[in-house]
Symmetry: C2
Subunit: 216 residues, 2 copies
């Protein structure tokens, strides 16, 4: 993840904190009002920084939006690389992942949905460069799943015909769609059940080591 130029190395820790505060405020405003409805001056006021501070961290609105996307993508990936989840390379860790995602949404009262997914939904049709930034975020996230699933197949936990790419799409798709439904309907079941279906689908490719004759 060293390829993401998300934290300019020259910033002091205080500078990094200020930059992070501005990004958080900007993400929040964009999610509520859209990019067109969010002016850089609104962000500046809400983050309580001066105009020269804003310019110091973000040369213009485009740069701010780009950094909000990268920052949100990183925060989402950090959520998925907690020690308890390991490398998402076992049936147990995928079940735990689904459980933690669901519990976290309950804790926030089902508001906000997946922050990165919401940003993507807001911004995907705004311009080609922004779409490419969002795509890069999803690619990194998909890569986490792909790598874990590939390890499971190499290890023999998954049968040979399991397609790590296709299963990664199913898992992240269920998360994104389940989040949107849960967020809109303000109940947890759509997220819980969509994730359960996707993880159960992955489990259906489990190698039957107990009875190898059943494995095609």
């Amino acid at each position: 993840m060293a390829d993401v130029k998300n934290q300019p190395p020259r910033l002091t820790s205080k500078g990094q904190a200020t930059r992070a505060r501005i990004l958080g405020v900007a993400a929040d405003l964009i999610l509520k009002r859209g990019v067109v409805g969010t002016q850089i001056d609104d962000v500046r006021r809400a983050a309580e920084v001066s105009g020269s501070q804003m310019t110091h961290y973000f040369k213009d609105k485009r740069a701010l939006v780009k950094d909000v996307i990268a920052w949100q993508a990183q925060a989402t990936l950090d959520n998925h690389t907690q020690p308890e989840l390991g490398h998402l390379d076992s049936f147990a860790s995928l079940r735990l992942w689904a459980h933690l995602v669901t519990e976290r949404q309950k804790q926030v009262g089902l508001e906000g949905g997946c922050q990165f997914g919401s940003l993507a939904g807001q911004l995907v049709e705004s311009d080609a460069e922004t779409r490419a930034d969002l795509a890069a975020g999803f690619e990194r996230w998909l890569e986490l799943f792909r790598k874990g699933l590939l390890a499971m197949r190499d290890r023999g936990d998954l049968r040979r015909e399991a397609d790590p790419e296709a299963l990664a799409y199913a898992l992240l798709g269920a998360l994104q769609g389940g989040m949107l439904l849960a967020q809109t309907l303000r109940r947890i079941e759509p997220l819980r059940d969509a994730l359960d279906a996707a993880v159960t689908h992955v489990e259906s490719f489990a190698a039957d080591t107990a009875d190898a004759a059943d494995v095609v």
Copy 2:
């Protein structure tokens, strides 16, 4: 679907066409610029109608947004109630549904995603009333799947333990999440594979009529 006050009965067919044109233009602008970034006057100009015409059809921006949501929900439901899909109450019709959804996205060059889902993503956190309007749209859509799946279970196509509610969430979740990924990554596989996983999951509950002893 007679409960949706989507087409005021007093409009002439010309009036209905004008109203539909305004709604289409408004939906498009909202998806591109967000609600805050879309002024009623932008919609009026883009739809090439007069101010008095706008006021005749939509008393204010809130009314316009509400009607855009209901109109888009109806359009989405219409797409799902084509004769070829039947009542989405067989394994074959669910497979066909997944195929048609995927083909349609290919045809539009993966742009725009699911129009209703995109609207939901844009507007869900804007205010409680708008969220409720969006939820009503999703509920009607989920009801289509639930009814079809329930019929399949009653008929004995699905085993008793199949949960039509949970499977409906899995299908619509896969559609919404797969759409967002395909739209952002500009490739069809995420949608195709997420839908395939969800439909395969439904199929895993197929009653084994050939060998009833295997059914729990």
